[in-house]
């Protein structure tokens, strides 16, 4: 579903948010706190009206100079930062609220399916005040889904929860997209959440949408500040192939080639995201034989960017796939690195995301 937007949001400075994305899976709106992420989400929902804006969702125009669809006329589910459940209704009545207001023909999911997906069976007759923070957000998600939205908007749904509750809720959100096949636009300022969930990014900086597109591409684009952060990273999509019982190693096929991840056996065929911190990647001129590092790939140097007088960001192409490495200027000088040079990338450690 194509979403074309042009929002002019008048705040202390004028925010110009233009983007054109194909929202199929999870798209994250990413930017520092206060950059206008929530305003953008509210504008998409129609909760805020900004003159001169335009919004096209699929083949429907939701807003332009002549049209403004009221929030209740937009087929959108909205999960707020705090769950905002209806305190006077039970969990079940909360979930049914939007369901009852959806035409039978437009209903995409049964209540049973939603309730079981979010595992709310035992909570149905409770009032929201008796739920924990994580439970409340699960109910809020179920309630939004029950109205069969075409698009689900989530405004930092995990930010009010502690880490344990976050970890508990994340799999539900991942499943949502897979099981319900519903496009999600997700607002967050957490690197972890975004690396784990997002397939696409809408990256906001300096009051504009700097770029939008596939996350692994945006994270490694040298013209964006994302690649120049201290915690710059690359994201690799991989699939579990085999397991070496004797050494307890998982072999994964990825865009880069075969990846080896130590530890417990992953389910074969499972899709996994690998997060490579730029600081954990080093560069050698020859393939090291006598090293403890397992993941070594031939790479081509694509770009070099000095961050300061000591550090350098190197954009490598491994199997044509971009990966960032952070090294010292001195090392770059020693190795005489330059664009187009063939090298080897050694990946010291990797974070496995669901």
């Amino acid at each position: 579903m194509r979403i074309t937007a042009r929002f002019k949001i008048a705040r202390a400075e004028l925010l110009n948010f233009n983007f054109d994305i194909s929202a199929e899976s999870i798209t994250a709106i990413f930017g520092v706190s206060g950059c206008g992420k929530t305003s953008l989400l509210r504008a998409i929902a129609g909760l805020e009206k900004h003159a001169g804006s335009k919004l096209q969702v699929g083949n429907e125009t939701w807003q332009d100079d002549n049209v403004f669809l009221a929030p209740h006329q937009r087929a959108i589910g909205y999960v707020f930062q705090e769950s905002s459940l209806f305190e006077h209704l039970t969990v079940k009545e909360n979930i049914e609220y939007g369901y009852k207001r959806t035409d039978e023909a437009a209903r995409k999911f049964s209540l049973e399916k939603i309730i079981s997906l979010l595992e709310l069976q035992t909570l149905l007759n409770r009032k929201p005040t008796l739920l924990s923070g994580g439970e409340r957000q699960r109910v809020a998600i179920a309630r939004a889904l029950a109205a069969s939205p075409k698009l689900l908007l989530m405004d930092e749904p995990l930010s009010s929860l502690d880490q344990a509750k976050k970890d508990e809720l994340l799999p539900y959100i991942e499943n949502l997209n897979k099981e319900m096949n519903i496009p999600i636009i997700y607002v967050s300022h957490s690197n972890e959440e975004i690396a784990r969930l997002a397939d696409q990014l809408i990256f906001i900086e300096d009051a504009v949408v700097k770029a939008s597109g596939p996350i692994s591409e945006l994270l490694t684009r040298s013209d964006l500040s994302l690649a120049h952060r201290r915690q710059a990273e690359s994201l690799i999509f991989a699939e579990v192939e085999t397991y070496d019982e004797s050494f307890q190693l998982n072999y994964l096929s990825s865009d880069l080639g075969t990846f080896i991840v130590p530890g417990e056996k992953f389910h074969t065929g499972r899709k996994i995201r690998l997060r490579l911190a730029a600081q954990d990647i080093s560069i050698t001129l020859e393939a090291q034989k006598n090293t403890s590092i397992l993941n070594i790939f031939p790479a081509i140097i694509d770009e070099l960017h000095a961050e300061d007088k000591a550090l350098l960001t190197v954009r490598l192409l491994i199997n044509k796939f971009p990966v960032l490495a952070k090294i010292t200027l001195k090392s770059a000088d020693n190795l005489k690195l330059e664009k187009g040079k063939a090298v080897f990338a050694q990946i010291k450690s990797v974070a496995v995301l669901a």
């Binding site: 929902a45 909760l47 009221a70 929030p71 209740h72 705090e82 905002s84 006077h88």
Partner: protein, 226 residues
């Protein structure tokens, strides 16, 4: 116990309070909603107007109502021209007076209750496909139910104790305008202290019981603000 005349006054008072509260709830709900939701610049003007009966001597309110409702007043003249009974010195006139007299006691708790709901539950309802009227009925009203309880009891109790306005526009026609407070006043004038006692004590008891009910059911409610 009560003399037949006192009983009549007692039931007339209850009837007046009931009718007044009902009208105030019907008219006050949209007004309170508007005051709670609107971002109109001159909203404070309306709020001050609503609060006015709190500070005005009831006789002042009654005096102007008398001018409005009397045969020479605009409303009185209008009633005459359509061949209806004049409003001054009638039960209907009393109801009109009481509505003005008790307006802040109903509108302010409702406005507070609507304010306390906040924007969020209504936005959530909108995103679930509820139209503005739908979300008012299914979300705002139930969430403001404590405010309605407060408004109902305060409006009712305050109307029970009305004196000055009635004195000005009602007089003391038994069964029509002679309410409890007037009856008490007359007993005192006639030095019938025992009768005055009985009526006064029952009014105290009734009002106290209603307020106890409100405070017991509403932990955190504000009676009135200025």
């Amino acid at each position: 116990m009560f003399s037949p005349a006192d009983l009549t006054a007692f039931f007339l008072t209850l009837k007046l309070a009931f009718v007044t509260t009902l009208i105030l709830l019907i008219l006050g709900t949209p007004l309170a909603w508007f005051l709670a939701r609107s971002r109109w610049r001159f909203k404070f003007f309306l709020e001050a107007l609503v609060a006015l009966p709190l500070v005005l001597p009831p006789t002042v309110l009654g005096f102007y109502l008398l001018l409005m409702l009397g045969n020479n007043g605009p409303l009185g003249y209008f009633m005459q021209s359509i061949g209806a009974e004049p409003l001054a010195f009638s039960f209907t006139g009393l109801v009109i007076g009481s509505v003005f007299y008790s307006i802040p006691f109903v509108v302010q708790p409702l406005q507070d209750a609507f304010n306390n709901i906040g924007q969020r539950p209504l936005e959530a309802a909108a995103m679930l496909g509820a139209s503005p009227l739908d979300r008012f009925i299914t979300v705002a009203l139930p969430l403001a139910r404590q405010g309605f309880l407060t408004a109902t009891v305060l409006g009712f109790a305050h109307t029970l104790g009305e004196f000055g306005v009635v004195l000005m526009i009602g007089g003391n026609i038994p069964g029509e305008t002679k309410v409890l407070s007037i009856a008490i006043y007359e007993h005192v004038e006639a030095l019938e202290y025992a009768n005055a006692h009985l009526l006064s004590a029952s009014l105290v008891l009734l009002s106290f019981l209603m307020l106890i009910a409100v405070y017991a059911l509403n932990g955190r409610f504000k009676v009135i603000r200025l």
